[in-house]
């Protein structure tokens, strides 16, 4: 099993005729993800790698029946329209890859998600990968690398940095530790499924025995995970890394923001709260797999 992604899920690609859409559709198909249709308004009738293209999501649904997931590659300024269109056509999960989506658009997407009972990851995400199950987005880039770099196993990864997501999985794999599902939650300040949501899904997932969190300064996702841990809602072991220790602390852009957020978001605040809640926090990502191995060995006993 895996979280968010599944072998039998039907997947749509919005923006399939573009440079990224085309390249990542190939990746997803090569890895066995069921990409059954694509949408680019004005391009109906085309095929991309054998996948039929439609003008609207509704047309794709009419032909193919219910679609579970959409992976979005349209340019940032039109992401809002594309995602809400997908929700309105009954799609329950959107993976929003593009960077630079205006935040008021993300808020509108978030409201639409509530209205339609849907969820989304990103924006600004590499996507989701479950070794042996499938890929949504572009993690790994091409099928050969994906097969080499990622192996099925029991570690769930939730990350805010795209690059560190892949790097961590690669190093775990080198040490013989496989992954259940890898989620790049997205690099923006407002995202659909932040760390705490992903961690809750890992808690429910029978194939995940240990959770790796790759955090960053800013926001309160890591503190929220710490709260879940100390509240007993997460009982699986957590190994965490927080990036940006040397960087300037996230700039507060307003008094009102400071009033509401207080001291949340700092490197030390995140590390302290995670440690206090029982997570193992490492200073360097190269230490992750060692700590993971120790814990997994203990679980074996």
């Amino acid at each position: 099993m895996s979280i968010l992604i599944g072998k039998n899920k039907k997947v749509l690609v919005q923006g399939i005729t573009g440079r990224e859409g085309r390249a990542r559709t190939k990746l997803m198909l090569d890895i066995g993800t069921q990409v059954i249709a694509g949408v680019t308004p004005g391009q109906a009738g085309l095929e991309v790698l054998g996948v039929p293209v439609y003008d609207t999501v509704a047309e794709a649904v009419k032909i193919h029946g219910t679609i579970d997931i959409t992976v979005v590659f349209v340019p940032a300024p039109i992401v809002k329209n594309a995602v809400i269109e997908a929700f309105a056509s009954g799609i329950k999960l959107a993976v929003i890859v593009p960077d630079r989506v205006p935040v008021y658009d993300v808020m509108a997407i978030s409201r639409a998600a509530k209205q339609y009972g849907a969820r989304f990851t990103g924006p600004n995400t590499l996507g989701i990968l479950s070794p042996g199950v499938g890929i949504l987005g572009m993690i790994g880039g091409n099928a050969d690398s994906v097969k080499k770099w990622f192996k099925s196993g029991s570690v769930g990864i939730s990350s805010r940095s795209g690059g560190l997501t892949t790097a961590t999985a690669y190093y775990l794999n080198k040490d013989g530790i496989g992954q259940s599902t890898i989620v790049h939650v997205g690099g923006d300040s407002l995202i659909g499924l932040p760390h705490p949501e992903i961690v809750k899904l890992f808690q429910e997932d029978v194939d995940t025995r240990l959770i790796v969190i790759l955090g960053e300064i800013g926001g309160s996702q890591e503190e929220d995970v710490a709260e879940l841990l100390s509240g007993g809602r997460i009982t699986k072991p957590v190994v965490a890394y927080v990036g940006g220790r040397e960087a300037q602390e996230g700039t507060q852009f307003s008094h009102a923001g400071a009033i509401i957020e207080g001291n949340r978001g700092t490197y030390q605040g995140k590390v302290d709260s995670l440690r206090a809640a029982g997570a193992v926090v490492v200073d360097d990502i190269s230490d992750i797999s060692g700590e993971v191995k120790k814990i997994l060995d203990k679980l074996e006993e």
């Binding site: 935040v103 892949t166 009033i259």
Partner: protein
């Protein structure tokens, strides 16, 4: 961060029906006489992005024309955090009965803006709020459903407001909310919001920060660079932003961190990939005592053309001792595109500094081969590594190369690109580039590597030369993804007949600003 000046914010509030003080913009001391005639005694405020202006002497109350002239001259000769003060605002003085605080802010991770109101305003608002929490209310706003007065009045009452002001304040807050949404503000603050003796609610100050990613929808704000820089944009940052602005293929982020450094000072041109990986890489350089001249992040699978432009911009920084690039080490993007872009830049500039890159991830073997093999005839020593070499090892390599100086000693470089585009056949690319072929060279080329290596597959052979297999219009719309193979691969394996010219407005051909 895309900030607006007080006067811009106030004008936006006024458009939304908010009352603002009568005021006039001043750009020079020559404006003083007219302005004084119009406003009389009032308040003069420098238009800067810092708060706490009064303490910095940037808020003055001139009583006479002469005083006004003196203050104008003083303020206009100052700079704050590197920003030259260019605009002043002269406003009527308000008879203040009460000060409030009102603002909209986006809290990280929250999917709705938050309205904040405090019945006590003025400077030191954060302390006021912690001291008097009961005088504050917070309300989550649904932009599709702006609150009505009846929803705000009970909240205002809880903060101690009573009487007719309730109506005035609830109307004001509604117009504040509307303005924040319309301008896509990450924050909009009015501090103080003022009740005058005559019973009017007026915005005495206003600070708006617009969402960087939404600036493209608001050309009316005149924001030059929608980025957090912490200093006024440099020429080079403006050039870099122009490359990024309309090209949504991948990310190119460029900030200059060091200026006016000497050769040998240990300052490097830095070319990162991905936020997390870049931070890690800069830390590694720091451990060897190096500084970076700039921060740069090209990630999210940018085309080779974007990498090329980034490389040219980084290398245009005078006196850097080396050119270093690294990301997280295991990139999902195809790294040979990066290699192509870097090679093109190096071949054009032929800089006499060592170059070390860590292009780990997809296509890294090919990336390493391209970057090292295609630069052998150049002045710089070029080293490239993959994911199994740590960033510390790469930083150490850079350190050694700098210490030993250039050993290559090839003074004559034979195959450095000459940039004259001889075009018997040419077409435009999506970023105003020109691809051109010199058919005399193409005819005698046996490899036709331009066709086999073209990542978009848009070239075919006809009568012994490459031609497009799609229309030039389609190419210009983006079907040519600017992979640069028609030049870089042609130069290495073909006859040198293929060229792509990619202009960087503001940089000349030798790569100088």
């Amino acid at each position: 961060m895309s900030k607006l000046f007080e006067y811009q914010g106030k004008n936006l509030l006024a458009e939304g029906g908010f009352k603002i003080p009568r005021g006039i913009i001043i750009k020079s001391v020559d404006d003083a006489e007219n302005v004084f005639k119009e406003i009389g005694t009032g308040v003069l405020k420098a238009q800067v992005f810092t708060t706490g202006r009064a303490a910095l002497g940037l808020v003055k109350f001139p009583m006479t024309l002469e005083e006004l002239q003196t203050y104008i001259s003083e303020m206009l000769s100052q700079s704050i955090k590197g920003y030259k003060i260019e605009t002043l605002l002269f406003e009527e003085k308000l008879d203040i009965k009460q000060e409030y605080f009102a603002g909209i802010t986006l809290v990280s991770g929250k999917s709705s803006p938050t309205l904040v109101f405090s019945s006590r305003g003025g400077s030191g608002i954060e302390e006021i709020v912690s001291k008097y929490p009961k005088s504050v209310f917070f309300l989550d706003i649904n932009p599709d459903k702006i609150p009505l007065p009846f929803e705000l009045i009970p909240l205002l009452k809880k903060t101690g407001i009573s009487g007719k002001v309730l109506n005035l304040l609830s109307d004001s807050l509604i117009s504040l909310v509307k303005t924040a949404i319309k301008t896509e503000a990450k924050s909009l603050e009015i501090n103080p919001l003022v009740l005058t003796d005559k019973g009017k609610i007026i915005a005495a100050d206003c600070h708006i920060t617009v969402d960087d990613y939404a600036v493209f929808r608001h050309p009316e704000f005149g924001i030059e660079i929608a980025r957090e820089l912490g200093h006024p944009p440099t020429e080079l940052e403006k050039i870099a932003y122009a490359v990024e602005k309309d090209d949504y293929r991948g990310t190119f982020y460029f900030i200059q961190l060091e200026d006016n450094f000497k050769k040998g000072a240990g300052v490097l041109g830095f070319h990162g990939a991905g936020g997390g990986g870049s931070m890690m890489s800069m830390d590694a350089l720091q451990k060897f005592g190096y500084k970076v001249a700039n921060f740069c992040d090209t990630s999210g699978n940018p085309p080779a053309s974007k990498i090329y432009r980034a490389a040219k911009i980084i290398l245009s920084q005078k006196n850097i001792d080396g050119y270093f690039g690294s990301g997280s080490g295991v990139a999902s993007q195809e790294q040979f595109y990066s290699a192509m872009g870097i090679v093109k830049a190096l071949r054009e500039l032929n800089p006499d500094i060592p170059v070390v890159f860590r292009l780990g991830g997809n296509g890294e073997e090919r990336a390493i081969r391209i970057l090292e093999d295609y630069t052998k005839d150049l002045k710089p020593t070029v080293r490239c590594y993959g994911k199994d070499t740590s960033v510390s090892e790469c930083a150490s390599e850079m350190n050694q190369l700098i210490a030993q100086g250039n050993l290559k000693n090839n003074t004559e470089t034979l195959k450095v690109n000459n940039r004259n585009l001889i075009s018997d056949y040419s077409f435009k690319t999506v970023t105003n580039g020109t691809v051109g072929f010199n058919y005399a060279l193409c005819l005698s080329c046996t490899s036709k590597v331009c066709i086999s290596e073209c990542q978009s597959g848009i070239l075919e052979e006809k009568n012994g030369v490459p031609v497009l297999n799609i229309s030039k219009e389609d190419v210009a719309k983006g079907k040519c993804t600017e992979c640069l193979a028609c030049e870089v691969e042609c130069f290495a394996h073909g006859n040198g007949g293929g060229r792509i010219d990619l202009p960087i407005p503001g940089l000349d051909k030798e790569g100088s600003v």
